[in-house]
Symmetry: C2
Subunit: 232 residues, 2 copies
DNA sequence: CATTAAATTTGATCTAGATCAAGATTTTTG
DNA sequence: CAAAAATCTTGATCTAGATCAAATTTAATG
């Protein structure tokens, strides 16, 4: 793989503490590729051969059943996806497609596993990362089962606001139809929900959101760290 | 801890391959307790001090927000829970209560982590278990987002049937109100959904289920390994 | 075993959210 | 930049599932 990318990857929690030799070996075994938008990278059911790292761009994880489809997550740089599948050597449970032009590193699962056994620091990092993924999945489920669509949206906006630095203006980083699917609602319903939030001081212009009545929105959303804090 | 339990625990995937000395050390550091039914073992938000292993009985994992509550999983012997929290030393994301009189082993998180660093076999087992938990969470989300309540119920019944040995008769192992919550519906709606399934050859008598038209039910349920197979 | 309490079922009604059908915008592309 | 294709929005309608209230069954308790 090109040396340009390695330093970026090395900064990732997953690779930061590991032995340099092992890191280099992993990188040598890996492939880097640039993908155009809307390309299906993996399909659910396929065997999991690689751990993926999004270096730039954006990847949507989604799943289909009986003609229906749902977005399960949107991955932004720099982070990994399908770690669980590649550890268990099980089939992918989700499909993945690029939403934008994306640069992605593919690390062969068998190399990940080999280094896992040799490098305790890496093993530690893998298990921490995986526990995080696991906990975020739990939070997503709680969000879905305990909240209405309007509440999910309100909390999503507050979370995005926080990530963008707590200013009153920020922009949502994905298309609304994907956001709708992520939040478990239809695009039509998202559109209406955004309109309802005007009463709580939310102004929408395309992807740009302005929050004018912070307290009102928070009173509606009732954000909770055990659901909304991705770092927890 | 009493030696009676150790052999059972040792059989768990999580502990099977690890070094005997390490296993014994873990067991010595652990506590075994018998809990009555309906006892809240842990509350979400609390710091995670122990990895829990259900030896006998049954534990419900649930979560609350804004006065609502939802069952997220039901844990039966012999398996662990809140592995992810104890690895990250983060607060519990779910609460846990016994549904029946239960025998539970509490292994201090710090001991789990210490042995993780020393014993590659154990590290390997932990990461596999965690990946499994992670994948099951993904399946649960897919079930919730891609299926209607009736479809979730139909698939739940087929899964239980399989676990019970594929006979046409079997019994559901939890109260219906918990099942309803697990499937993301109200008890009233579960009751009605079960009635609707009569048209597909499902007969209900208390906890006992009889499936008379296997193919019809499967045509409705459209079971899918990437959602319904817990071992995958 | 009678009493009380809890769980389940049933019926009536309500509502969040889906679906369908057009428009209105925005984005993409020749 | 104009045409075509998406995406987003709005309105009308429909429906899965929730809520409320009451009856019935089942389980727990003195």
């Amino acid at each position: 793989m090109p040396e340009l990318d390695a330093p970026n990857i090395r900064q990732l929690e997953l690779f930061k503490e590991m032995d340099g030799t092992h890191f280099d070996a992993l990188m040598r075994a890996s492939y880097v590729q640039n993908f155009p938008p809307q390309l299906e990278l993996i399909s659910e059911g396929d065997p999991s051969d690689f751990l993926h790292v999004v270096v730039s761009g954006c990847v949507e994880l989604f799943s289909s059943w009986n003609g229906r489809e749902s977005t399960l997550a949107v991955i932004r740089p720099v982070s990994t996806f399908i770690l669980a599948a590649s550890i268990r050597n099980g089939p992918y449970l989700m499909s993945a497609r690029t939403l934008e032009k994306s640069r992605i590193i593919l690390i062969p699962s068998q190399d990940v596993q080999a280094v896992f056994d040799k490098d305790p620091k890496f093993a530690r990092a893998i298990v921490e990362e995986l526990a995080q993924v696991c906990r975020n999945a739990t939070k997503h489920t709680k969000d879905l089962k305990l909240r209405t669509a309007l509440e999910r949206l309100a909390n999503y906006l507050l979370t995005q606001q926080k990530q963008a630095g707590n200013g009153s203006n920020f922009s949502i980083p994905i298309e609304k139809r994907h956001l709708a699917s992520l939040l478990g609602m239809t695009p039509e319903n998202l559109s209406r929900a955004l309109k309802k939030l005007r009463a709580y001081g939310v102004l929408v212009d395309g992807q740009i959101i302005a929050i004018s009545k912070q307290e009102e929105l928070e009173r509606l959303a009732k954000p909770n760290r055990l659901i909304d804090d991705a770092s927890l």
